[in-house]
């Protein structure tokens, strides 16, 4: 394998060079699902190649085949023009393919160095391998300007740094081709920019990068070429310079899509939710939300932005009555409804608080239930669903069908198991369940996570419709685009505290990004002004 690697250096200039990766006719089925339909793909050496597509378009399957997690039913993989039979990740590593997973595969209590050599320690005595690895790691860090302290404990490092370790791991194993699967999901915009600079350096050193993402902005900013997938098919290849986000999104969805949400001015009325000095602790006593105070008025959408894991989840769960509040007060229309003090999720629902939680599978539904069972979760005590002491499945079925047609849930079958609906349809069912009760306040977290573009449009419109109907909406999302297009006011959370507030009009990615990193809002705006 090492001789192939040496051949590759400097190959970028000659015209007749073989592509780094060539996939021919890759086909893969999972039972009834045709995940990849005869996919052809060429990735030129020394380029950054983006692959975009909606969730479920088959991007991850394709990359998993390339990395040896799955075997293709048909088709061939060529690396540097040579036919490769990739049966497992070891084979992929042997031909110089490295992968940075969406969820990091790191041992948190270990040091950076220990993580990097994990699996390639070399020999029974650790010492030798460690010393050699330290040398090599220094070289890699210098060459690609990846600054990390080899002796730092991984668990103490920020997410951005952890991702760098994943990249180092791949490079240490001799990767010439690096696949990154949705790498920016957990990063602030600034961290993402830094990542793209690293990728640029890698490219200049002759490495090939494949970037899988659903964020068009990143494709436009970082890639040389882009391939679009839709429903298991490769629908287009473009040079990034010659395409536009509009064209790409149209290719992804197969029809014209409204990228920018059209909504009118907010008309905020009376305060519905008032949160005063709220603190939330985990059962281990770790303070996740620190003295949060804010309010949400009827007829406005308040967005909470922040890098995932900075307390927004806990805040939302506390307001939904799932987590007890340790300090502070929550008022709903002036009445004390502080969760944990005799008020739980059921009580809040009765008082008109609807909650679409962040994690659909873990919290919003029981996936082994049928759709009609999922459609009454939280409302199973409702009088319209009862017949004496029994549940009135007839009425429940009718109500579910109504929800499904109103929110365009497909297929419209109340008896189908919830797990058998696509992510978007599951989410629409959850939204239907919560919104169609006409609540006073809608708490909604990550409304479009794992949802296809078509459904995103629909879900956003319904949330804005809630606002226009004079309801209060609190939106938590880690997608800045979503926050900026939906919210009327934006609160930014960092490390459990609400750092500041920005109106939708003055919000932009840089200011929000700085605030998400913990920079004081005034300084952030000043930095923006001088930039």
């Amino acid at each position: 394998m090492s001789d192939t690697m040496h051949q590759m250096h400097g190959a970028g200039e000659t015209g007749a060079v073989q592509p780094a990766i060539e996939l021919r006719g890759i086909d893969k089925r999972f039972g009834a699902v045709h995940a990849n339909k005869s996919i052809d793909l060429k990735v030129e050496k020394g380029t950054i190649h983006g692959i975009v597509g909606e969730n479920g378009a088959g991007k991850s399957t394709l990359m998993s085949i390339l990395y040896g997690f799955y075997q293709a039913d048909a088709g061939t993989i060529h690396v540097d023009g040579r036919l490769c039979d990739i049966k497992g990740s070891e084979d992929a590593i042997a031909v110089g393919i490295g992968m940075v997973h969406q969820h990091f595969m790191l041992v948190e209590p270990f040091t950076v160095l220990e993580n990097v050599i994990l699996g390639v320690e070399g020999g029974a005595i650790l010492r030798e391998g460690v010393d050699k690895a330290r040398e090599e790691l220094r070289r890699l860090e210098r060459e690609y300007s990846l600054d990390v302290n080899p002796d730092a404990i991984v668990g103490d490092l920020s997410v951005g740094l952890q991702q760098r370790i994943e990249i180092l791991k791949a490079l240490y194993r001799g990767a010439e081709i690096l696949i990154l699967d949705e790498p920016t999901g957990v990063l602030t915009p600034q961290e993402a920019d830094h990542l793209f600079r690293i990728l640029e350096t890698l490219k200049q050193q002759g490495k090939t990068v494949v970037l899988i993402t659903h964020k068009l902005r990143e494709i436009m900013a970082a890639t040389d070429n882009v391939s679009v997938m839709r429903q298991g098919e490769m629908v287009a290849h473009r040079k990034t310079a010659e395409t536009s986000p509009e064209e790409l999104s149209e290719l992804m969805v197969g029809r014209k899509v409204l990228l920018r949400l059209e909504k009118g001015e907010a008309a905020p009325a009376a305060t519905v939710l008032e949160v005063d000095n709220l603190c939330v602790e985990t059962s281990q006593g770790v303070r996740k939300v620190k003295n949060a105070s804010f309010s949400v008025r009827a007829g406005e959408i308040v967005g909470i932005a922040g890098v995932s894991g900075n307390g927004q989840s806990e805040l939302l769960e506390a307001l939904g009555g799932i987590r007890a509040v340790t300090e502070g007060q929550v008022l709903l229309n002036g009445l004390d409804v502080t969760p944990g003090r005799g008020v739980d999720a059921a009580e809040l629902r009765k008082r008109g608080v609807a909650h679409v939680p962040e994690d659909r599978h873990r919290m919003a539904m029981v996936t082994s239930f049928s759709a009609k069972e999922a459609a009454i979760l939280g409302y199973e005590d409702d009088a319209t669903y009862q017949k004496g002491i029994f549940l009135n499945w007839h009425a429940i079925s009718d109500a579910t069908e109504h929800m499904m047609s109103e929110f365009d849930v497909r297929p419209n079958d109340p008896d189908l198991k919830a797990a058998n609906f696509s992510g978007g349809n599951q989410q629409k069912l959850v939204l239907a369940r919560e919104i169609m009760r006409d609540p006073e306040l809608l708490l909604v977290g990550q409304p479009t996570r794992g949802v296809d573009i078509g459904a995103i449009e629909f879900i956003h419109k319904r949330i804005v419709a809630m606002r226009d109907a004079g309801k209060a909406v609190l939106l938590v999302s880690v997608e800045l685009d979503e926050i900026m297009s939906l919210a009327d006011r934006i609160l930014v959370m960092c490390d459990g505290s609400i750092i500041g507030e920005v109106s939708a009009a003055e919000a932009n990615e840089r200011v929000l990004g700085l605030m998400m990193a913990g920079v004081d809002p005034h300084e952030a705006k000043a930095a923006e002004g001088s930039a």
């Binding site: 999972f30 039972g31 939904g320 999720a345 919290m363 009862q386 549940l391």
Partner: protein
Amino acid sequence: MSDTVQLPRWIDVGALPLLNLLLALIVSGLVVLAIGESPTQVVEILLYGAFGYEEAWGYTLYYTTNFIFTGLAFAVAFHCGLFNIGAEGQAYVGGLGVVLAALYLDFLPFPIMLIVAILAAAVFGAAWAYIPAYLQARRGSHVVITTIMFNFIASSLMVYLLVNVLRPQGSMTPESEQIAEHLRLPFIHDIAAGLGLEMASSPLNLSFVYALVCSVLVWLFIWHTRWGYAIRTVGANAVAATYAGIEPGRYIIMAMMISGALSAFMALNEVMGVQHRLLIDFTAGYGFVGIAVALMGRNHPFGIFLAALLFGMLYQGGAELSFEIPTISNDMVVVIQGLVILFTGAMEHMFRPRVTRIYTAWHLRRRAQEAA
């Protein structure tokens, strides 16, 4: 993106358990061969012993009654995500309730005593299950550990009570006094005789009918009431339950208490129906076998009925077997029963992946043909 198609119901609840059962019988056959007996003869005697003559039916259904109660008990807790292996202890303590009611309220007429005995069994069994349930719900002590410990506690407690409190003066055996004749559950053959039908005498009694009633009630409760819905939600996804405002602890306690009560109903059969007094260790492992019954019956009352019937058959036929073939000792019968439990209970998922794969392939081929 799932790798497979969903199995149709007849495979899921019919073919798969039968396949497991078949394997258990094949392995049992090998064991029988190893000790030099003929497997076909053994099966013949087993079936004859269970169904071959009129009396045998009664015995088979009498055992079935116990398994229905303990199987239902396990299933209700299981729907709440709890592995209640304390049916032995709960039934044992339930027996105490039944015998106390029958001995100390012996002035009551039978119909009222029937209701009182059911309530007494339920209250005692539920109370015994409440403690592990509380510890699980509020203190996080795992119910598997606590229920098994409560089996031992129940056992010691009952020995103490039988030896020191309930034993009639002058008696040398640790058992309670006999229940008054008019308070005993009528045998089915007596009821039949009253209706002018002739039936061979067997221990089968009215509690079998009650077991069928309980099966229907459990089915209604689990799938057709909001409490059953809440229990299933807690069992399938406790986080989703909390989100919905269903407090898991409350339903853990509810499910365990119902489970304990159902276990205790076994005492109606044994204490009030057959033994007519409280005996040491009258539960005889029925509580544990109930776990296999419930798992094999997919925790559905109808499946539990079928599985209970199978185990009733194994118990009755097994007794016949050790009687007919002396080399097949009682322990050998336990081995065969154990193999059935192993393959249908513990290893019930052994064939599932393969069957699913075969079915998926067949299903896709058929769909392709239809499309063509």
